[in-house]
């Protein structure tokens, strides 16, 4: 039906193992995504599927296609590259968004040192230092 019968074992076993590894990691990521209780914890769950879940599956697909077509087939790696570059952007944006929304809506849920943004904290510190300097110079 799909030409898998004639494959040698040294191709089919690594491909099978890689596919199963990738799929299982993706499932564990999704499981964690449902189980974990806070948003920031859940932010870590998709990276399992995005890193080795995707990596193992595209590697398996590439090996299989290369053997079946008798030429180097690496177009799957472009998908890997795409995911590798785009996932950090979405996760960073989501992390920043969640932090911003938590700070404006319910800052008490955040740890004490996280309630002000870094820039605001730096500005406050500089102001304080400037005040101290002014005090010292006047004294």
């Amino acid at each position: 039906m799909n030409g898998f019968e004639g494959l040698p074992l040294w191709i089919s076993i690594p491909v099978a193992l890689l596919v199963m590894l990738g799929a299982t990691l993706t499932l564990i990521g999704a499981l964690g995504f449902v189980q974990l209780s806070s948003f920031y914890d859940r932010l870590h769950a998709p990276t399992l599927g995005a890193s080795w879940g995707t990596g193992a599956i595209i590697l398996a697909s590439s090996i299989l296609a290369t053997y079946l077509q008798q030429r180097l087939v690496v177009h799957e790696l472009v998908i890997g590259l795409c995911v590798l570059v785009t996932i950090p952007v979405t996760l960073m944006l989501l992390g920043r968004t969640a932090l911003l929304r938590d700070r404006t809506e319910n800052p008490t849920a955040l740890p004490e040192k996280m309630r002000n943004s870094l820039d605001a904290e730096d500005a406050a510190q500089q102001e304080q230092e400037a005040e101290e300097r002014a005090k010292q110079s006047s004294a």
């Binding site: 799909n2 199963m20 999704a30 995504f33 177009h75």
Partner: protein
């Protein structure tokens, strides 16, 4: 022998990734907050893309690969647009 191993592995992977997609989808419904839903949408896009890749391997078809690639790019654009909306649209103004 080889055919049996690969058919089993690919069948298992299809099942497992379909379950993962359902779990990600359930988080879209559960929420509780907007950023959870957006993150769930991103995860759903990723798992469905993997499902397309595996189905493509099983059927030996190149077209599903191209679909997977389009999904990967579209998922990124959708998530960034939604996140930008959350970042600028609701809270600040």
């Amino acid at each position: 022998m080889s055919g049996m191993i690969l058919t089993f592995a690919l069948g298992y992977a299809q099942l497992v990734i379909a379950i993962a997609a359902c779990l990600a989808g359930s988080r879209i419904l559960l929420g509780p907050r907007a950023q959870d839903r957006v993150l769930a949408l991103d995860t759903l896009y990723l798992t469905v893309m993997l499902l397309f890749l595996i189905t493509g391997m099983r059927l030996g078809s190149v077209f599903l690969f191209e679909a997977a690639m389009v999904i990967a790019v579209m998922g990124f654009v959708a998530t960034v647009a939604l996140t930008k909306f959350l970042f600028r649209g609701e809270v600040i103004e």
